[in-house]
């Protein structure tokens, strides 16, 4: 299916489009996000978009570019630097009938808002037994590279997955970026929607009409039999490239992109691991208490005995991001790490 595919670069997409029987409309991840918001603003008067610098010429790396010109300053607006209050403001507007989308340029700033997310948004429905609900979206971007360093390039999604009452979504393709953002707004719950800066330029097929993708459903990016690779966000793109290399050596991996981390599509992952008997989890976050830990635990609980080899977790090391590009290169996992991990689990016991 053209919409489940990850195209490593623009030319790969263009080649596919040229070869396709049906016409494929290609836009970038950034454009897909922008289109989703534009259509939401157009079709739902409850929606508004706000955040620091969202109306500047760059428009959050293009994802909000000129939306304020199209929909006016009342519904698309810049804000003071006050992340915690802004999050509470989004929540207050949400319980009063709006569908706010709050944008933080970096996920590193979201910790400033944890009180409003954890103590308020996540609990407002439960604490009042459903008398109100809190349909608010926090969009946030993971930075990476060019010495962004310790405070501007963190992968903090695991912090949010620990919190009942919210949803955590991490789209890896333009198609998912649009469909999941529209689904998130429709959903009616507080959603942490985490994008990856390195995916912004990725191109893929995106239908023009509005559509939604079910929250909580993962997707098989590539079928395989030898090892399951669960790859989160930008790691899904790395995994696709790793798969080609591994295929040349006769190893066929099955790539699962969970897309939503909370709720997590356990069935899809368990089913795959029962088939392959092996599991690698590739994630740019820290290992301790990260998504790989939760997946490992669920495999222990739900697929006991299915594993033929220990689970491998691929993560950044347990330290902050260093600035120097020499250290940065060492810090981030990628294709080679996936290849190595897969080989390790596939060869387990055969050595």
């Amino acid at each position: 299916m053209p919409w489940t595919k990850i195209y490593g670069d623009k030319s790969a997409f263009e080649k596919a489009a040229a070869e396709s029987d049906v016409p494929l409309r290609g836009i970038t991840y950034a454009e897909a996000l922008r289109e989703a918001q534009a259509q939401l603003l157009r079709d739902d008067e409850r929606v508004f978009v706000f955040g620091e610098g969202i109306d500047d010429p760059g428009g959050v790396f293009g994802s909000t570019k000129d939306l304020h010109k199209e929909f006016g300053d009342e519904r698309v607006f810049d804000t003071p630097l006050a992340e915690n209050a802004l999050t509470g403001i989004a929540l207050g507007a949400a319980v009063s009938g709006m569908r706010p989308i709050l944008v933080h340029m970096r996920v590193d700033f979201v910790p400033l808002t944890l009180d409003q997310i954890l103590n308020h948004a996540a609990k407002w429905s439960y604490m009042f037994d459903g008398k109100v609900h809190a349909p608010m979206i926090v969009r946030s971007v993971i930075g990476r590279g060019w010495g962004s360093a310790a405070q501007h390039s963190q992968n903090l999604h695991a912090l949010f997955t620990h919190i009942p009452g919210i949803r955590v979504i991490m789209p890896a393709t333009p198609y998912d970026a649009k469909g999941l953002l529209m689904a998130a707004v429709e959903d009616g719950n507080p959603v942490i929607f985490i994008e990856h800066r390195w995916l912004y330029g990725h191109m893929g097929h995106v239908p023009e009409d509005p559509y939604t993708i079910p929250i909580g459903k993962g997707i098989v990016r590539r079928e395989g039999t030898d090892c399951t690779v669960v790859a989160i966000s930008q790691q899904a793109a790395e995994a696709v490239k790793a798969a080609d290399i591994l295929a040349e050596e006769g190893i066929n991996i099955e790539i699962i992109d969970p897309r939503t981390l909370r709720p997590l599509d356990t069935d899809l992952i368990v089913g795959s691991v029962e088939k392959t008997g092996r599991l690698v989890v590739a994630d740019n976050g820290w290992k301790y208490g990260g998504i790989g830990a939760e997946i490992a635990a669920r495999i222990c609980e739900n697929a006991f005995g299915a594993l033929k080899a220990p689970i491998e977790r691929i993560n950044v090391p347990e330290c902050p991001t260093p600035a120097s590009h020499i250290l940065e290169a060492e810090y981030y996992p990628g294709i080679e790490d996936i290849v190595a991990a897969v080989k390790k689990v596939v060869q387990y016991g055969h050595a």
Partner: protein, 334 residues
């Protein structure tokens, strides 16, 4: 039943008695909790507002049913003044399924959306940005509603208060910040926490109107709130009202603080002399707006309402244990 056009000197007898009724209702409701709490059937912390009733009464007099309020851990009085159903409140405190929050919230988390009470937070300052968000919603929707945010003096030390006030001023939102300055945050006197006792000064510094008033004088509250709420409703932006008052009971529970050595007894005695209800009672009877008999009769009616709320609460069922896992998420009913 808004009284937008009347200032305190123009209030009718009925208006005045309404103000009195609200204060007395809060007082009697809270006193009932004091009576019942030792039974240990209300198994949740209660933060009573005895002594502070004039503020919510004077403010709510200007609010429509669908105007919003946001409040804090000490929220009973705010809710009652906004017209909350006392039976649902009491049932909540008893942990019953008929409670306003289905028994999941307890005394610190009360709600009645039909009355614009959108839920209270027990994180100090936590409800402030939410109130600003509700006002933002009103300003986008142009629904003409005003939001009132109640908080204590302690909340004015939390960063989110400043962030929220600045945002509200910047966007000229229809919101009023009511700071109930009772001189304490738990057992910390203001002097240990503030460089200055004039919270109201923060208003102009952040672009908002402000006022500093005697929070035990219900008519002063009434007039100040009138102006602030009209300003908000007419696009004039936020006001920060600092209303000084005193809480008679402990920070939490029905005890008294001087008994545990956390404040001087004299202070309580002095403030009791300044009881907002006694003072207003005196004024009404002196001015001839009401007779003592009328006021006593009013008290009996309210006492009966409250007794009914307690009966309702006690007679209600506890939630079924399978309710534990409901309403964690909103499930679209579409």
């Amino acid at each position: 039943m808004t009284k937008e056009n009347l200032t305190k000197n123009d209030l009718t007898k009925d208006n005045l008695i309404d103000l009195y009724r609200v204060m007395l209702k809060i007082r009697l409701f809270e006193e009932k909790i004091v009576d019942l709490y030792p039974e240990q059937e209300m198994k949740c912390p209660v933060h009573l507002c005895i002594g502070q009733e004039a503020i919510a009464a004077g403010v709510s007099a200007h609010l429509n049913k669908d105007d919003y309020i946001f409040s804090n851990h000490r929220g009973h009085g705010h809710a009652i003044a906004k017209g909350a159903n006392m039976s649902l409140l009491m049932a909540e405190f008893y942990g019953k399924e008929t409670g306003c929050s289905g028994g999941k919230g307890g005394s610190m988390h009360i709600i009645e959306t039909e009355r614009g009470i959108m839920g209270t937070s027990a994180i100090v300052g936590g409800g402030i940005p939410m109130g600003v968000g509700a006002a933002l919603a009103s300003s986008i929707k142009k629904d003409g509603k005003v939001t009132v945010i109640y908080n204590g003096d302690g909340a004015s030390e939390e960063g989110v208060f400043y962030e929220s006030l600045n945002f509200a001023s910047l966007k000229k939102l229809p919101v009023v910040f009511v700071c109930e300055n009772n001189g304490y945050a738990t057992n910390s006197p203001q002097i240990a926490r503030h460089s200055s006792c004039e919270i109201a000064r923060l208003g102009p510094a952040l672009g908002a109107a402000s006022a500093c008033i005697d929070g035990n004088d219900v008519l002063a509250v009434y007039d100040t709130a009138k102006e602030a709420i009209e300003r908000a409703r007419n696009g004039g932006g936020p006001t920060l009202i600092e209303a000084s008052t005193y809480r008679w009971k402990g920070h939490v529970g029905p005890g008294e603080d001087h008994l545990i050595g956390s404040r001087p007894e004299d202070e309580l005695v002095e403030w009791k002399e300044l009881c907002p209800i006694v003072a207003f009672d005196k004024k009404l009877t002196t001015d001839g707006a009401a007779t003592e008999a009328e006021l006593i009769e009013l008290g009996s009616v309210l006492a009966e309402e409250i007794a009914e709320a307690v009966r309702f609460a006690k007679d209600s069922e506890y939630p079924d244990v399978d309710k534990l896992l409901t309403n964690i998420y909103y499930e679209s009913k579409e």
